[in-house]
Amino acid sequence: MIEIKNLTKEFQTADGTVEALRDVNLNIQDGDIYGIIGMSGAGKSTLVRCINMLERPTRGQVFIDGQDIAKLTDKELRAVRRDVTMIFQGFNLLMQRTCLKNICFPLELAGMEKEKAKKRALELLDVVGLPDKANAYPAQLSGGQQQRIAIARALATDPKVLLCDEATSALDPKTTHAILELIRDINRRLGITVIIITHQMSVVEEICSRVAILDSGSVVEEGVVSEVFSSPKSGAAKRLVFPDGADEILEEVPGERRIRVVFSGAVASREPLIAKMAMEEQITASILGASTKSIGDKAYGNMLLGLPDDDGVVKRAIQYLSSIPDVLVEEVTGDVR
């Protein structure tokens, strides 16, 4: 388990002290896929770097399995870093090494003998689905493939925790989806705790079980993903859930219920979803706001629907829409503004 207690990080700049993180408290259970989401500058990257002490907290503690890692010597900390590995937005592969040698890198650092390391690296190439790229150089691979190699490298030392720092931000939605699938698969098969730093709602919705929303260095909301996103309370959460300001355009109408439909790679059928629901279920929904895009034949994004204030209707609508694969539906309660 990872416990972050009263974590504060300050940076000294020419203009004085900047507080990147303020009194952050989080508990992350073993085996979770935990999302930390926030706009850029919210302090996400600093937070994740405090978990492996790439950044030293100004105040507060980070416990990994009960061990206060700020108190470790440099040598002990290096050992911990083999248990808490990291993947990055820019992949950060060694460009002058082959993929196989890149995966061997952390094993070399740990002093494993060459043949053994090579065998392990070959296994990992299989795990990430690139068994034929052993002797290719990173520059010969696509972004998605490079991230797969980076994931294999991060898994080489059999870590307990995988930190993902905007790991999919440089990738297109389709590749993002594939990489997230891989991460989920790794989490399930190997039981590795995953911490995902992102500014993309869709990433959190797709694979995280719990989420913390970070705004100007503080955690403003924390909890189970579906709960946090279906009834966002803080301003920061609302901005994330309704990025295009759907909430700002619309007045609260009495007697109207709202549901949010999230597409995370649903196959966009030729039939219009809302019209079909009206015909088959006799439910008339108004589209209050939508931000969707299609990539290939798949739809990504979300939609805010207005429904009549009737429990039965809302329930049927949610049932109808949830029956479509890769579509997530939740009722939005409270004042969405």
């Binding site: 870093r81 083999r82 060694l94 002058q96 650092l109 490298r153």
Partner: protein, 235 residues
């Protein structure tokens, strides 16, 4: 002064000098240059590494005073003109080689003049390494020494090769000056025949040969650098 440059007697005399002295001179220039570069790299590479890793935000910060002294020494040595440096290091040369004149002796001032230059070139190469990659290595538990040996140096090999090529061509130029203190090579031929005895054709040919050598070093270096760079696709 160039009126008798191509008279039959001049050409005949030049050919004789070429046959007897040029092969040895070429060889002397090449081996002095290569040896001096090798020593300059042996001293300059670690210093260049220290300049990068020892900084305040470096991989292994060193005390401010140490960095200051290092920078001052490098800057001082780089600001002394080579001609004067050659004379200034006479005592050191005598200590190491036993004599201050001659071809072998000329290697000492060449190394003294070149290693600070090499250190700065290495510094430049290592600074090109993406800091995110260094952070990655730290996140995987790499020690400062492992970062130097497995990340900083290997990742900058193409840049290092092209910078060492700059170093070798510069040292080649310096080695020509060492003809003044009795160092052998093409520089000596140019000075002795061209400057002291007005045999300009010999000087001209020596200069052309120096240019050819620079060209050879440069194109071999460039090719090696490109070939070693795995960032270039489709290789």
């Amino acid at each position: 002064m160039f009126d008798k440059l191509f008279s039959p007697e001049t050409i005949e005399e030049t050919l004789r000098i070429l046959q007897t002295e040029i092969p040895l001179a070429c060889w002397e220039t090449v081996y002095v240059t290569i040896l001096a570069t090798a020593f300059a790299v042996i001293i300059g590479l670690p210093l260049g590494v220290l300049l990068v890793v020892g900084e305040k935000d470096g991989v292994r910060p060193l005390p401010k005073g140490v960095m200051h002294v290092l920078n001052v020494i490098i800057n001082l040595l780089r600001s002394v003109p080579f001609l004067i440096l050659m004379i200034m290091v006479f005592p050191l040369t005598r200590l190491i080689v036993g004599t201050a004149v001659g071809t072998v002796a000329s290697i000492v001032p060449l190394v003294i003049a070149a290693f600070p230059f090499v250190a700065r070139l290495v510094e430049g190469s290592l600074r090109e390494v993406n800091p995110n990659i260094i952070e990655m290595a730290q996140s995987m538990g790499a020690s400062p020494f492992q970062i130097i040996m497995k990340v900083l140096i290997p990742e900058s090999v193409p840049s290092l090769i092209s910078n060492f090529t700059i170093a070798i061509t510069t040292i080649l130029g310096y080695s020509a000056m060492s003809g003044i203190i009795g160092g052998g090579g093409l520089g000596k031929i140019a000075i002795n025949y061209g400057y002291y005895r007005y045999k300009y054709l010999v000087m001209l040919i020596a200069v052309v040969l120096l240019i050819v050598l620079v060209q050879i070093f440069q194109s071999v270096g460039t090719r090696l650098s490109v070939k070693s760079d795995k960032r270039l696709k489709g290789k």
